[in-house]
């Protein structure tokens, strides 16, 4: 009896053990993967590790744009216990109106949507407030938010990002692939309380590349401040400014007005007027500043010299049946440097005639007009330069005085860099470093002879000292420049209006220039809106600050001759270039006569004369200068080609002689 029972018991235990064994085989072998997956789904959570967008630095290492982590709130409308209560609670915690929020949630509910952002990028206080609420029907997601700590500073260069942190303007847009990081992934084993135990799989996030721009925040700030002040004070419409290193092509500042705060998101239906980078996107007829290219081409291709007499024809010239006036009355036969300094339209037309169509086109093209400068910024405009086949009979004359072409402020700065660096076209550089890798400086391309560049420097210095650019004269540094005032063509009316683009392009110091500044104020009115009155003072303030920041030693007296400035200020007001608007220029004629008389009188004065250094080596020049107690400012290397003042000119006490050496 007992044995029988024991047998039964053993059989039952065996069956039970077999069942357990087969269940174990099923769990561990047959359905191993299936149950492993189910276990992982319960015990493991997948996390996306956000990759911070690359930080943008200024050239001195200050942060211009950076991303920080932030929180966003979302719900599943289908799983809300009570939509009205949820809207009430979230509205209170997040400072939102209840009714619109409730309407949004109800709409999502009706649309059977399982996901709805309640508020994105909430503040830390709001996040803390929500985390204290012990409810499980709303969720907080980690996101990244872009910040521009300097507000409007360099807004047009930096651009902005959209709500998905994708660049929609400026360098943020153009260099999006580099700035955007690659998010990482992580699978974490968690316990019942959702505390992380261990990482199962970890792909680290790859942050976006940090960029160091060539922008100097201090120069940029002053540039924006002065440009805004100029536009407002002259009731102008807009303005742009570029500060550039003429040797490396580094853009030290690029300002555009009106401006905007990139921290503010673009609202739907907003007209992006403030977001247009005028310095590269809005071309304009340059006016007299374009005479720089005209004269450079003439010095390079003809026998024109600064002393060559130019017949300005009393300020009137007829070209192909069309009359071109000097805007300020005109003058007679004057040296080329005077015609340039006084911004004579007739003189420029005469010089252009010497250059000819083909050479004019060739040189204007060489200076970089009609082509993009190649900055990593979107919406760069190449300007307009028609091929000679499409030129009319009056085109050469028009282009000689800066009409029938359109240029951007950046192109003007680039062109004047050619004069400043000794005759080579530079490629502008905006990104100094990508991560730790320095962006190499593009090789310079020689486009004009060094002696032409040197001659143009002194022609442009003459503009500042004796011409239309007196308000750009720096205190403590030498410099050169050119004013320009072009009438704005009214497309609707079909003729030039009485609004002007007032420009000034200059460089400093005269020997080994360190900066080039191009300023344009668009939509000015009246004589006070000409380039010499609107843009030249901006140049002075910005260039002074830039030279101070760059620690450039002073090479001129601190205080300029006030008499000279006051005298030239009158001329400055009359300096415009256009085809249509004649005007009186009695003051200018008197000025020229005075200067001519002064020059003749100086030549006849007894006393020491400037020695002739031409053809001498630098060592010989310095030795001779030392023996005579003369200060020489050498520029370049090799043999002395040009000098200023010219040989035989009266040598004033303390005067320094600039000598250009070339090989």
């Amino acid at each position: 009896m007992v044995d029988r029972r024991l047998t039964w018991l053993a059989a039952m235990v065996l069956v039970w053990a077999s069942a357990i064994f087969f269940k174990l085989v099923s769990l561990q072998i047959i359905h191993h993967r299936e149950y492993l997956g189910k276990a992982a789904a319960r015990q493991e959570i997948s996390l996306e590790i956000a990759a911070p967008r690359g930080t943008v630095f200024s050239r001195s290492g200050r942060r211009l744009a950076m991303s920080v982590s932030t929180d966003s709130v979302y719900v599943n409308p289908m799983k809300l216990p009570d939509i009205g209560m949820a809207a009430e609670l979230l509205g209170l915690a997040l400072g939102m109106d209840r009714e619109p929020l409730e309407a949004r949630i109800r709409e999502a509910y009706k649309g059977h949507r399982g996901f709805l952002w309640i508020k994105r990028k909430i503040s830390q206080d709001e996040a803390e407030r929500l985390r204290r609420v012990p409810l499980d029907w709303f969720f907080i997601a980690h996101e990244s938010q872009r910040h521009y700590p300097n507000g409007t500073l360099a807004a047009h260069v930096l651009g902005s990002v959209n709500s998905e942190e994708k660049g929609n303007a400026g360098i943020e847009m153009y260099l999006e692939p580099e700035l955007r990081g690659v998010p990482g992934k992580e699978r974490v084993l968690t316990d019942a309380r959702r505390h992380n135990i261990a990482s199962r799989l970890s792909i680290p996030a790859k942050p976006g590349t940090s960029l160091t721009l060539t922008i100097d925040e201090q120069i940029q700030f002053v540039a924006e401040r002065e440009l805004a002040e100029a536009v407002k004070s002259h009731n102008a419409v807009s303005g742009s400014l570029v500060v550039m290193d003429p040797v490396t092509g580094d853009i030290l500042a690029m300002a555009s007005y009106p401006t905007y705060d990139p921290n503010e998101p673009v609202t739907s239906g907003e007209y992006p007027k403030e977001r247009i980078n005028h310095a590269i996107s809005l071309p304009f007829e340059p006016g007299s500043v374009f005479k720089i290219m005209n004269y450079s081409a003439a010095f390079d291709t003809t026998n024109l010299t600064p002393e060559t007499p130019i017949n300005c024809g009393g300020g009137v010239i007829r070209v192909a049946g069309k009359t071109i006036h000097d805007s300020h009355g005109g003058t007679g036969v004057v040296p080329a440097k005077t015609a340039f300094g006084k911004s004579s339209n007739v003189g420029a037309v005469r010089v252009g005639e010497r250059v000819g169509n083909e050479n004019m086109y060739e040189y204007v093209h060489r200076f970089g007009f009609g082509q993009k400068a190649g900055l990593p910024l979107p919406a760069e405009n190449r300007g307009k330069l028609r091929p000679t086949s499409r030129w009319s009979k009056v085109s050469l004359a028009s282009i000689s005085i800066g009409q029938e072409v359109s240029v951007t402020t950046l192109q003007l700065a680039r062109a004047v860099s050619v004069i400043a660096n000794g005759g080579s076209l530079v490629t502008p550089r905006l990104v100094l470093k990508r991560g730790d890798q320095v962006t190499p400086v593009a090789p310079l391309v020689r486009i004009i002879k060094p002696e032409t560049a040197f001659t143009m420097r002194f022609m442009m210095e003459n503009v500042v000292l004796n011409g239309t650019g007196s308000k750009a004269r720096l205190e403590g540094w030498t410099g050169g420049g050119k004013t320009g005032s072009a009438q704005i063509f009214d497309v609707k009316a079909g003729h030039y209006s009485h609004s002007y683009n007032g420009s000034y392009v200059g460089f400093a110091p005269l020997t080994n220039p360190r900066i080039v500044v191009a300023v344009t104020v668009n939509g000015t009115h009246g004589e006070g809106g000409f380039g010499g009155a609107t843009s030249a003072p901006v140049f002075k303030k910005v260039a002074t600050e830039a030279l101070r920041v760059l620690d450039v030693p002073k090479d001129a007296p601190e205080v300029a001759n006030p008499t000279l400035i006051a005298k030239n200020a009158v001329v400055d007001d009359l300096a415009i270039s256009d085809l249509e608007a004649p005007g009186s220029n009695i003051l200018e004629e008197e000025e020229d006569a005075d200067q001519a008389a002064q020059r003749i009188a100086q030549a006849a004065l007894p006393g020491p004369k400037v020695p002739n250094f031409r053809g001498m080596t630098m060592r010989a020049v310095l030795a001779e200068a030392a023996s005579k107690g003369i200060t020489v400012l050498p520029d370049g290397s090799g043999i002395a080609k040009l000098q200023s003042p010219p040989p035989g000119a009266p040598l004033r006490q303390g005067e320094r002689i600039r000598v250009q050496f070339t090989r």
Partner: protein, 164 residues
């Protein structure tokens, strides 16, 4: 008065065989119950009491074999416990280390975020616009060229004179 063994014997009494004679106890004719009287509880008539037993005079005889066996069992159990503990130590250790590692990772991310927030705050404080406003309030002007001497710069002579 019945004792517990008596009670159990009574309740566990084997069933009477079919052919067994009638029980000696004659079935009492059931008296008519008072319809208003409460029904008796089962075993209501049984009374229980505690019997005090004094075993202090009993002396346990030493069992050497049993003691040895006991120590053997304790030893084996200890060994098993030690082996099980040793085997589970790495697992428990790795789990605890995992908790610590994940906590540290979370802390690292929090500190990185905090550092970025501080960097942002610093950048906002050093903004040229803000500094310009402060400088104007205090009637400060930009330094002239050459007026600023950077002690950490390449001018080693000046850098050496920098006070500690």
């Amino acid at each position: 008065m019945a004792t517990l063994p008596a009670f159990f014997r009574r309740t566990e009494a084997p069933a009477r065989p079919v052919h067994a004679p009638e029980t000696t106890r004659a079935a009492k004719p059931r008296a008519d119950r008072d319809p208003y009287a409460l029904r008796a509880l089962p075993h209501e008539d049984i009374l229980l009491f505690c019997k005090k037993i004094d075993n202090t005079r009993l002396v346990r005889e030493p069992d050497v074999q049993a003691r040895g066996a006991c120590w053997s069992v304790i030893g084996v159990a200890g060994m098993v416990l030690l082996i099980v503990t040793s085997a589970s130590v790495p697992y428990v250790g790795s789990t605890l280390a995992g908790y610590k590692l994940e906590t540290l990772r979370t802390e690292e991310r929090r500190l990185i975020d905090e550092r970025r927030n501080l960097d942002l705050e610093e950048a906002e404080l050093l903004s040229p616009q803000r500094l310009d406003v402060i400088a104007k309030d205090k009637n400060l002007v930009p330094p002239a060229t050459g007026q600023v001497v950077r002690l950490d710069g390449k001018d080693s002579a000046v850098a050496m004179a920098k006070p500690e």
